[in-house]
Symmetry: C2
């Protein structure tokens, strides 16, 4: 046990844990991060289970506040839109927003190393191979197993940035009236690789998030700075077309041949990847409260979401940004700050959680629906002519400073109006001459 | 470790565990029930935290199948309706159904003892003070702490009838893709007593479930065979009027004086009860799957619900009834039976779970709403004239053989029709002469 004066324990040296550490050390705290794994930086091997990340406004704002924005951006590849690959091998580019608005592809491992380096340089202490077996929040004490021994550490505050299966949250589960839910979707995912072409070029247009939407399943590909793409197959675990039904090389081959032939030609390691990479599941975690005594759940530990809006990391980084703002407003970390944090963030976490689940349907199914495409075009026109009155949902979530909960509320209102507009007979041709002013008026 | 041939382990000797044991021993299995507490029958003291139970059709059907119906009924007091106590001390009796339809008040302890006696006489082995610390479903093995020692038992099947905080379910939590949620409502409850009057009579009409509905909170009272009533106060934990705000005797007294003065005059132990009885919370648990290897969650362990529809025990007993039917249909217990059970029961458990949450609002708030009362009367007329076409929701849930999920679906349809009828201008007086045939026609 050591002195807990001004000391902060963060569980988890992942993206959120490392960024949080950096925010807190910059505010003068004595920050100790405990991570159950070894130091990522010593053995930079990919685990074959990470969807590439799409950094957008919320994440960038947080990185900017700690001065890391330029460095991170240099590791990113901008993706201004989706490239939709239809079953007949056509490509349809759908911009995410206006010119200049883009999401940014970055490898999780790269970003994590960069954050840990920055935190360490700023004075954060990292303790690797420390498995947190227990937290006693009433005593501000966490217990770790390290090299076969049990150690305990006390601190003024304990943060659980330890992901969807948080050890801190396990302590909360024993407390009275802790609301908790974990829900898996019926699809899983598998990471696959698409290396550079034999000539050393990107196999596909690098400035897009590529999607092969096939209703019940989909393949996506995000670019890397080494000119490879990280592909992810999302597919039901069970059923007629499912991971269960793809057992042999022949089955995998013919599945890809049938549904993703244009991608398959660029995937020389397909069979090996398919065999060697795990099939992972996708969880949504909701809970409340986030606070117990002097401890706080943050990031995935508080609100793990499915990856389909590309907002998991961005939401976690925004958590750090909001917490830092509250620390500033309240002249230091306190129980009051933790409570203010959960009051503010819970509704936003719930909103992005629901939006992320919805976006799976949009990505795998709707992006090829003519009415959906028409709506996107119409909304882009509306946004262009009335940039402050009509902001499409994707823009609200990805490129704006609106809270997630506000974005959801605005989107519901806008969708109700759009549903009526799309119901107009002959809208397929009439949309170009439609009276935008009337649509805007309906917002009031 | 002992031979597991034909052996069944049931965790929990509560209502569902004891009844399940009885069903299984009657089918020829070697049934062992493990209970963490001491034998209830040796020390029959009430814990001051049990809402009285309202046994209705689903529970009775299960008891009938094991031959216990007559005995149990002799310990019950029939409640053919609600007695609503308004703030101005008026009483309004609202029948639950038709003449002869009633729910039955019984003390949890009495019923539990009776079930354990019957199970034991039929050959079930009860093991008390066995705390289940771990279950390994892949090995069909459960580990218990008993008198300081750790024991393990193997069996062909393991049932978790161990309630809302099930030890078996903890094992499931570690499995991949286990969906789970626990949600507390913001109100808690406290048991209070209303002894017989000095003359040895019931203080209130014994043949009713008494409710003092006060919008955000309520008091209820259920009769006991000893002519006492068991009262339960449901009240928010926090807020202006809450358990938090009732700290002193004076505060408790004036709260009851203001809101429940007619009940208070019959509650001589109010202050002592209020101080000594715990304030308990109300949890809803949903999960899936119920099956893992050769184990099954049943009753509250699978689907704890709030008590406001009086269906927690009835749903658990119906679980046993359904399982027994499936065993019969499949000529014995098997993994297939367990899977058939969860396929059938999950939707029904979800339905009654949602209905129970809804009924809190109905009980504490709606029962004094003139439109609600009018709807009840109108539905009774409809049910009387068209007994098979129009069955009110309460009747579907409480007195019918419809599945909970069917009841919910029918109710939604009926409520949509009722909402229109209640919108008719002047319905307050017009309802008596309304054309019932037209309402029935709207069902198609």
């Amino acid at each position: 046990m050591n002195s807990s004066e001004n000391k902060i324990i963060i569980l988890g040296a992942g993206l959120v844990g490392s960024l949080l550490a950096l925010f807190l050390v910059k505010r003068g705290y004595n920050v100790h991060v405990f991570e159950k794994r070894t130091d990522l930086r010593l053995d930079k091997k990919e685990e074959g289970r990470s969807i590439n990340l799409a950094l957008s406004r919320r994440g960038l704002k947080a990185l900017e506040k700690v001065g890391l924005m330029p460095k991170v951006i240099s590791h990113c590849i901008p993706m201004p839109g989706r490239m939709v690959h239809t079953i007949d091998e056509k490509e349809d580019f759908q911009p995410y927003g206006k010119t200049g608005q883009q999401i940014n592809s970055i490898a999780r491992l790269e970003l994590n190393c960069l954050l840990m380096d920055a935190a360490e340089q700023a004075g954060v202490f990292f303790h690797f191979e420390h498995f947190c077996g227990k937290v006693e929040t009433e005593k501000n004490e966490a217990y770790f197993t390290h090299q076969g021994k049990t150690l305990s550490h006390q601190a003024s505050f304990i943060f659980g940035a330890d992901g969807a299966f948080s050890a801190l949250r396990k302590a909360y589960m024993r407390a009275p009236r802790f609301n908790f839910s974990q829900q898996y979707i019926s699809s899983g995912y598998k990471e696959l690789s698409m290396p550079p072409t034999p000539k050393g070029e990107f196999a596909l247009d690098p400035n897009a998030l590529h999607i092969w939407p096939r209703q019940e399943f989909m393949l996506i590909a995000l670019p890397n700075v080494d000119k490879s793409f990280t592909c992810t197959l999302f597919l039901p675990f069970e059923g007629k077309i499912s991971f269960d039904s793809l057992q042999t090389d022949k089955e995998v081959n013919s599945f890809f041949e049938e549904h993703f032939s244009d991608a398959k030609q660029h995937m020389p390691n397909l069979l090996a990847d398919f065999k060697n990479h795990p099939t992972s599941s996708l969880i949504t975690v909701k809970c409340f409260p986030y606070v117990q005594n002097h401890s706080l759940l943050i990031g995935d530990a508080a609100h793990a979401i499915v990856p389909f809006y590309g907002q998991g990391m961005n939401a976690g980084f925004e958590d750090c940004f909001v917490l830092d703002r509250l620390i500033e407003e309240n002249c230091g970390l306190s129980k009051k700050v933790l409570h203010a944090f959960q009051e503010e963030r819970k509704v936003d976490a719930d909103a992005i959680s629901d939006l992320a689940l919805y976006n799976f349907i949009e990505m795998r199914d709707k992006v090829t629906d003519p009415l959906f495409i028409l709506q996107k075009k119409l909304e882009q026109r509306l946004h262009k002519e009335y940039p402050k009155q009509w902001i499409p949902l994707y823009t609200l979530v990805t490129f704006s400073d609106y809270r997630y909960s506000e974005a959801l509320a605005i989107a519901k209102k806008q969708q109700a109006i759009m549903d009526e507009v799309l119901n107009i007979p002959g809208i397929e041709t009439a949309w170009k001459s439609i009276d935008l002013k009337e649509i805007i008026a309906a917002l009031d």
